[in-house]
């Protein structure tokens, strides 16, 4: 296997958890809700996903457990922000703190255990093709699902009536409410969807990326996913591009360390975080003149007047 091929395969693997979590958050934010708890939902997805897989021996059941964990946490978030009109920023932070603690509690018993990593697709002729074979036809299920998910979200948002309603709710909840759309119900569904995606993104880490669980193994990926949504201007296509770009930065850092260029390893590890800050600044600056493209009702509490 050539070096470039190996790098591309590892970039895709590093990008997939970001893409899964960010795609879910994009839908949440398009409905006008800012859920900052992505990191908490991801780490819970990782812990529960690993637990599910370890107990049953099935990657698929593990992934479902991860999704369920993400949904469960996002339901708590929805109850607070949609049901009780709590500040979304504060509730999102609480969700992350809770998720990190709970995942440590659940995962404590599984530290040091190993599972069989998710199987990779194998097609007799196609996977054997030089260069593109492994990249296109030799990935695990998570990777294919993440690509399908982004395409599906694009189709849903721009080609279906329900997607139009969801965007309307995110851009002006008062107007959508006046037209008779159930704003809170739509947002609840979006938040649950985002929770499931974040949980799956987290579950990818112990199920496919490294076949074991370490407390805090998401290492800020949830926050990077949030930054990706801003980076993408809330558009699915750009989101995918951004996720692969960040995956590339992560892998570049690993390779630079392996080559031992004399750069402190800490600086290389800090790269994805620094890149996030720089990208946010560049994106925000470029947008300065054109005005914000964020959903207009993003993060604003909605209490229907009856």
């Amino acid at each position: 296997m050539g070096l470039l091929e190996a790098i591309i395969i590892s970039v895709i693997a590093a990008s997939t958890p970001l893409l899964l979590a960010a795609a879910g958050e994009l839908v949440v934010e398009r409905s006008g809700v800012l859920n900052l708890g992505t990191e908490g939902m991801m780490i819970m997805g990782a812990a529960c996903g690993f637990a599910g897989c370890w107990l049953t021996g099935s990657t698929f059941i593990g992934a479902l457990c991860g999704i369920a964990a993400g949904c469960a946490l996002s339901l708590v978030f929805a109850a607070l922000t949609l049901g009780l009109a709590v500040n979304q920023v504060a509730a999102g932070l609480a969700l992350t703190i809770l998720g990190v603690g709970l995942s440590g509690l659940i995962g404590a018993g599984f530290v040091g255990e190993k599972i069989t990593p998710a199987p990779h697709l194998y097609l007799p002729v196609l996977t054997g093709l030089p260069f593109i074979g492994k990249i296109l036809f030799g990935q695990d299920g998570f990777v294919y699902f993440s690509v399908a998910l982004v395409i599906g979200i694009w189709w849903f948002l721009y080609r279906t009536r329900a997607g139009l309603v969801l965007r309307a709710v995110g851009d002006s909840h008062t107007s959508a409410h006046a037209l008779g759309y159930p704003v809170l119900k739509i947002r609840l569904l979006a938040v649950l969807f985002g929770g499931g995606c974040a949980g799956l993104g987290g579950a990818f880490l112990p199920l496919a990326y490294t076949p074991f669980f370490i407390p805090g193994m998401t290492a800020g990926r949830g926050w990077i996913a949030l930054a990706l949504v801003v980076f993408s201007s809330w558009m699915p296509g750009r989101l995918a591009a951004g996720a692969y770009l960040f995956g590339a930065v992560t892998i570049m850092q690993l390779h630079a360390q392996a080559f031992g260029l004399g750069i402190p390893s800490q600086l290389m590890t800090a790269l994805p975080y620094l890149a996030t800050v720089i990208v946010l600044v560049l994106i925000s600056r470029a947008r300065g003149s054109a005005g914000s493209v964020a959903p207009a009702s993003l993060g604003i509490v909605f209490v229907p007047d009856r």
């Binding site: 607070l80 509730a91 402190p264 300065g288």
Partner: protein
Amino acid sequence: MQLVLEKRVERSTKIAILSPLLAIALTLVTMSILFAILGKNPVMALYVYFVEPLTDSFTLMEIAVKATPLVMIAVGLSLCYLANVWNIGAEGQFIMGAVCGSYLAVVTNGTDPGPWVLPAMLVMGAAGGALWAMIPALCKVRYGANEILTSLMLVYVADLIMDYLVRGPWRDPKGMNFPTTASFDPVATVPTLFETGRIHWGALAALIVVALATVMLGRTIKGFEIRVVGAAPRAARFAGFNSKKLVVFTFAVSGALAGLAGIIEVAGPVGVLQPGISPGYGFTAIIVAFLGRLNPVGILIAGLFLALTFIGGEGAQISMKIPLDLTKVFQGILLFYVLACDSLILYRIRLIASPKKAAHGTA
């Protein structure tokens, strides 16, 4: 039948006082259930967590030691949150304060430089925290970058900078290759208040911070400006308050306080710069700020309460083998209940027969 929120005509003062207490009560109930699930006796566990630390003078002082950084950071954060500025990177500002202040302690180590070292360290610690906080503040006011994400990303960067220093240039040559600086000289150490125990002058500094913040918020134009910009941005613009300057100001103050807390922690109870100087003070302080209702005196009480959970959690781990992560779970659940109960100050929850009928009834 359906539950709906109804805006109160006036904020309920009764619930404003009751809400943190209600939140704590609900958290304790939830914790009891969790203890039972873990197979521990809930009554025993709650006793070990919340009562036992209060029965011993040593642990009482430890609570004050842990509350010191929490209160200092949370007071700074409360100014940000009151102004609707979301600094959640206090953990990074805490670390950078510790790093910048430690610089002097490291370079003067073993040279007996004189009593100026400690005050200079404290100044450098506060400056380091404030400068680190300036990055997200300036990114926000100059380019409009979201301060939540930038301030948080910088936590990871600060942690890695410290890691690099204590493993590389600042490592104690006699430290058996452990990632730590040499122990600070006595002149570079915050003195303890009493002969026994670890309670130090930093605890008094935290009290002074609470007093100053109370005066500033209640008695000065700046405090008024902070509250107006946060509560009514439009009105603040009409009043001529510059919200960008306020972003820089609140970030600078909260960064300086977090940095000061960092250097006091390192030069006080810890005594060296090493990884893991903070068990997440910067994040727990967010909970402290909200539990204290963004009010300095409230924060003092909330800080002591959360310090109690740290100490109680350690005790429960030793005597009952309860995992330390439960303390974080406890803190997360507490923040949820605090936020939920706060909602009752502004809204009334009503049970109505059916949403359609009610809409006709009140319209």
